[in-house]
């Protein structure tokens, strides 16, 4: 029976080829627009650490100094140096890492190129295993290197390609500002989306959060080593008072260090919350903190709190779905027109014994056929749309691609939309009374 409906549908679609083309076009354009934005949304709002993000937390304390009279938002998005180091040294989590960014001048003595400015991530050994960072050559530095202020570095695969043509550069030396460091590890290509461990301040970004999707830093150095290597070039997230020397933030009244911890069990999560609360109370008792506010969000909570998906992207998704809705109404109207135009034929079919269900199925088959063709067109338009997004000057342009799940979603959406669009007209058509000929006009 379905084959018969399919045959009828195809014939009917061929008969009104212009109307059919209009409907297919409307669905294709609607699906194309919706899927392009949905794919971008999907890529930007995804989990950067699938399966692990629920165990990753970002503890914060309100380090507002006692006696501070202003009104900052508390707690701030980052920690002051002393709190960060205290919490890190306590080693109460399964894994933990400090993070801070700074611009650094880099030279590779062997490659003879001009010096270049890069962003350096100052972190601790726990960073690499905690975030499952993949290595191509060598490995991370050891916890002993952290405390020993070793002059070592891990570089990105991108930088390794630029400086060493992709060869194993472990053991080679780099000049960071005026300090020689030895490469101990080269990362395999690693492109978390977003660059989650550097996300902060999204609340104040007016929705312009595209920069959260930048590439990772190119140089990773032990936190305490880099404080010496790049002294005077660190940047604060915010300060309660001016640091004594700009760019030197150790023990300054500034928030500028992030702490990430891995907590594997609910009991540990609970214990860590208690730990930072105790720490804050203790610091207040010591007269260092004015308040005892603390906060600890999971990775995904933290991303949501920072509104990581740029508002332009969200706005585009809204627009696309409004557009799809208009295409849907359009298709419903046209299908209705198409089916009712055949009222005579349907009446005769009914007289010849077609049940309501049969007429309904026949009409819905035709609608589904339009959806399938429209979905194919929509897929092509989605690919075109994503190609356009990829060629835009945004940090996330290189992330944009159509994965298998979105491909399936495209077709499901197209079919769903056209079946949805077909239901009402098909219902209406199935209500046509049987008749051997048309009595009225």
């Amino acid at each position: 029976m379905f084959a018969y409906y399919l045959q009828l549908g195809l014939r009917s679609l061929r008969r009104n080829s212009v109307l059919t083309a209009l409907m297919v076009l409307a669905i294709a354009v609607g699906i194309g627009a919706a899927m392009t934005t949905l794919t971008v949304m999907h890529l930007l709002s995804g989990d950067p650490l699938p399966g692990r993000s629920a165990h990753i937390f970002y503890p914060q304390v309100d380090a507002t100094p006692a006696g501070y009279t202003g009104t900052p938002p508390h707690p701030m998005d980052m920690l002051d140096y002393r709190s960060a180091v205290d919490l890190w040294r306590a080693h109460h989590a399964d894994r933990q890492a400090l993070v801070a960014d700074s611009p650094v001048k880099l030279q590779a003595p062997e490659s003879k190129g001009p010096p270049r400015m890069l962003t350096m991530l100052s972190t601790t050994a726990g960073f690499f295993p905690m975030f499952k960072v993949p290595f191509q050559y060598g490995s991370a530095w050891t916890p002993a290197d952290d405390e020993g202020r070793a002059r070592v570095a891990v570089i990105s695969s991108y930088l390794n390609n630029r400086l060493f043509g992709g060869a194993d550069s472990v053991g080679h030396m780099l000049l960071l500002r005026n300090t020689a460091v030895r490469i101990v590890g080269v990362l395999a290509p690693w492109r978390p989306s977003p660059q989650f461990y550097d996300v902060r301040g999204g609340r104040y970004a007016q929705g312009n959060t595209a920069s959260f999707y930048s590439r990772t830093e190119d140089v990773f150095t032990p936190f305490f080593s880099s404080l010496q290597i790049n002294d005077g070039h660190f940047q604060q997230f915010s300060c309660w008072a001016m640091p004594k020397k700009p760019g030197h933030l150790v023990d300054s009244p500034c928030a500028w260090v992030g702490l990430w911890v891995q907590l594997d069990t609910p009991a540990k999560i609970h214990a860590y919350r208690r730990f930072i609360a105790n720490y804050a109370r203790h610091q207040k008792a010591l007269g260092r903190f004015a308040n005892t506010d603390t906060r600890m969000m999971s990775l995904m909570q933290w991303l949501a709190f920072n509104h990581v998906v740029p508002s332009n992207v969200k706005l585009q998704a809204w627009l696309a779905f409004a557009f799809l809705a208009i295409c849907l109404f359009n298709t419903v109207g046209l299908l209705l027109a198409k089916f009712l135009r055949r009222a005579g034929e349907i009446g005769v079919r009914r007289a010849l014994g077609a049940s309501r269900g049969a007429v309904f199925s026949q009409c819905l088959t035709e609608a589904g056929l339009i959806g399938l063709v429209g979905g194919l067109g929509g897929l092509l338009l989605t690919l075109l749309g994503l190609w356009i997004v990829r060629h835009q000057d945004t940090p996330y342009a290189d992330l944009v691609h159509l994965d298998l799940s979105m491909l399936v979603v495209t077709f499901v959406l197209a079919l769903l939309v056209s079946l949805l669009a077909g239901t009402l007209p098909a219902l209406r058509a199935s209500r046509i009374a049987p008749a051997l000929q048309l009595k009225t006009l």
Binding site: A26, P115, S311, N330, L441
Partner: protein, 405 residues
Amino acid sequence: MQIRPVLSALRKHRLATLLITLEIALACAVLCNACFMIAGRLSAMHVDSGVAQPSLGYIKLQGFDSATANDLNARVNSGLRKIPGVQSVSVVNTVPFGQSTANAGVSLEPSFKHNAGVVTFYTAGPGAAKALGLHLVAGRLPRPDEFGTINKYVPDAAQVLVTRALAAHLWPGENPLGKVFWGIGTHFRIIGVLDHLSQPDPAGFGPGQAQWSVFVPAMPGPQLAGSYLIRVHRPADLDRVMTQARAAIRKVAPNVVLDLDQSHTIGYLRHRYFRTDRAMTELLVGVIAALLGITALGIVGLASFWVAQRSKQIGIRRALGATRGDILRYFQTENFLIVTGGIVLGMVLAYGINLLLMRHYELPRLPFVYLPIGALVLWVLGQLAVLAPALRASDVPPVVATRSV
């Protein structure tokens, strides 16, 4: 025109009428909001930076130590001045549409009980105010002896210029000259008011804060180095001068890193700054065009169907004495009524969407002026779209009335 019979005919086609009305309503709502967003982006893109943009270029250096700053400033200054066409070279911490470097909260009292807002501090050496082409509306420019030495970020107790917008925010209705405010660990006294000087990141803050800038005169030194404003005599020379300037830097300061991302003409920096706004505007225009196209197709499709369905009826009307014009006007009236219904519904929807967007995307309220514009566009679109089917209808010969179906 015969509105009542048209309405009663539409009542017999409730479903199709409802669908097309809803489509038009949705199109109207999206159209109004998209136009409003376009207008918002366009006005953001027209922010007055307050500087003589066509004559200005910017050179930014990195990777030097503050110990060598004075030497670097001197070498770059003399190196850049030698380039033919250069009128002046001055040291500034940043430029409009450059990197945002010195933003800080300010307060009207030293205790900082109330934060009066976050402003940008432009610290700039001698000659910069003139080179930027700043337009003073009150007070005076700093005297040579008012360029203090920077201690940390700005000179202590500096005599500064603020923009009109910032002055109006801090001291509404008062004369700002001589007033004092506190921030970044010191206080500032106002000696002049600027017409405009936008923040480096004018859209980065809330609405109305694009001009919250303070111009602080300061002596170049360890904390004010490596960041230069070039002004040329003739704007036509600017691109050549910038190319030569980049080359000159490699010669006079081979060990520093020229920030290729930032070292451009102000015009280019501005162009690049607004690229996402431009892309979004283009996208919105594209969406509007596609939207109107699809809606027009819907109208054409449905009207064609109605014409085909009623061709006998049209024949009867013609047989009963209707002229071609009568038939044409019938379908035009019908379309007008449907579109009007859609517009009425669409306006309600437009406000609903706007309220939603206001809540989530900090958009301002949709001004009423967009509603008649949206209505007019859709009316015209509807009439154009229905014209072809209506003309076809008016071509139905009256003899159709005698044919059995």
